[in-house]
Symmetry: C2
Subunit: 323 residues, 2 copies
């Protein structure tokens, strides 16, 4: 690592208070942490590559937020409490303005969730960001994709589809003139992972996943791992007025809701006996939840619109079929 790259330390080292469970952060061969008894550790890794996951022209603050939010969302989907992050940053050169904006946004989100950056690596090469984020969870309590049971009700948090509309704005300039273009672009980059909601679902939900590939694709992950099927009433999907205005109609907005990736909302399933407790359990998080369908026996996958089967040509279907 050239001396030039040592500048990077200035943006990442010593900017946070030390968590009590962090024995040693940056500056040695490894970081050292401790975890209390009867606690499991959840670990997730995600890479964002310039040109694949964001454009070179993207605001570095948004890139930092998106990279960290994607990982935190994975922890939220298990019901874990985020704790430690390791950052591997590959940079073509040392651009101090970029680093300042990136690191400020990184610490804004990590501080919000009490995550300490404990170490990482900085290398020279094509711009990419790999984060490994860890969290803790009571032993044996983690929400997984494999626990859904026939009869479970299927829920989602928040609203769906806005992230895909935001991506339209980012990728094609002509979309900037559409209604709410800027708001939707912000929602794409600046989602808030559902950490509190995930924790509130421990002991209530049978299964959970975060919506990163799109509702249809991610629900399929639950169905496959749980060996069950599902039906969804598309008319129930929570969509924003901004999205309806942007895409020019409710049907188009619902199609976006089914396939929009990088939403970082949770999709989860709840047994009948816990249906009544969902709203009160999530009330203190300020998170809206919507029941969108029900788990069925394996082999069933039905999309209805107010009881009538639909046959939309959705990208998310292809995504699923290809798997």
């Amino acid at each position: 690592m050239s001396s030039e790259f040592n500048l990077i330390e200035k943006y990442f080292v010593g900017r946070q208070a030390q968590r009590k469970d962090v024995v040693l952060a940056a500056g040695d061969d490894c970081a050292i942490v401790t975890s209390p008894a009867n606690v499991s550790i959840a670990i997730t890794t995600d890479t964002l590559v310039c040109g694949t996951h964001f454009l070179a022209s993207a605001d570095p603050a948004w890139v930092a937020h998106k990279a960290l939010a994607a990982n935190i969302s994975d922890l939220a989907a298990m019901g874990a409490t985020p704790s430690w992050a390791s950052l591997a940053l590959t940079l073509p050169d040392v651009d101090e303005a970029w680093l300042e904006a990136f690191s400020d946004a990184f610490f804004q989100l990590s501080d919000y969730f009490g995550i300490q950056l404990i170490g990482g690596d900085t290398t020279k090469g094509p711009l990419s960001i790999t984060l490994t984020v860890q969290g803790t969870i009571p032993e044996g309590k983690a929400l997984t994709r494999s626990g859904a049971k026939v009869g479970d009700w299927i829920y989602v948090t928040g609203q769906l589809g806005d992230s895909k509309a935001g991506l339209d704005v980012i990728l094609e300039a002509h979309n900037r003139t559409k209604p709410f273009a800027e708001v939707l672009e912000q929602r794409h980059y600046r989602s808030t992972p559902r950490v509190l909601a995930g924790q509130a679902l421990l002991g209530i939900a049978n299964s959970a996943i975060d919506i990163s590939d799109g509702l249809v694709a991610d629900l399929q992950h639950i169905l496959k791992r749980s060996n069950v099927g599902a039906n969804i009433d598309v008319a129930l999907l929570p969509i924003s007025q901004e999205l309806i205005q942007f895409v020019g109609g409710t049907t188009q907005a619902l199609q976006y809701a089914l396939t929009s990736g990088e939403e970082y909302e949770l999709c989860f399933t709840v047994p009948e006996e816990n249906k009544g407790t969902i709203e009160s359990a999530l009330a203190h998080c300020g998170v809206k939840v919507t029941c969108i369908g029900q788990i069925r026996p394996t082999g069933v996958f039905e999309l209805d619109y107010q009881g009538q089967p639909i046959d939309w040509d959705l990208e998310g279907f292809d995504h699923f079929k290809a798997k």
Copy 2:
């Protein structure tokens, strides 16, 4: 992730036995592990970028070995026992021959050290590999860079300099005709991290580091963090006959030994009262150790050759000065 990339699962998922402390590996939003009471967790992250850390033409088996060995070596330097790995792999396209050779070598080394691949991410982009590897260590016992005391004896494991000679072979074709070129190239890529040696040093050494930037540069990390100085008798540095033949003399070989990076040997310091126990402590590891100097008060940094000061122009010095 395109369906093409799902092929990657075939090379990485389900190829290892499940460790008892791994509750959930690949296939969910996070991996879940548990750690016993009174144990700390050591965490390290390293990235290898094609073009920066290896050539596009490099044997993928060597790349895998190098990527994993670099991380394991960081754990060894703390005295930790490796346990779990997360692999973030960015690939320009799906090259099955490359993936097969890479994954075979990855599992050969990870199985040797009992490390389970618990998850990761695969993305499309310029070739690079980021590994986060974790290990366990008795609480409060980790070897660090900051524990060296004036009077400690300075040791290194193994032999130094071969890795740099191997790099010469890789980077410049004309070096292939020099003596032992192939052997030294292999040593560059296929070092064995000193995990057992690191564990044996717990409670005996005051400080330790792995030699990844070169002896001079890495020893300086210990000196800086411990606020001490050092003197080294260069004549004592352990060098191989192959290296002497390759570089054409003992003086050149010793210069290589001072600055050769990516050696993945350990440099550590031992108080006088533990000097006698070092050899017996390391005997069961089959690792050679050599005393090369002594810790001095801060501000002192002397390189002698059989008692006479030397003034060699070394890359490693510039590396240090730039920091």
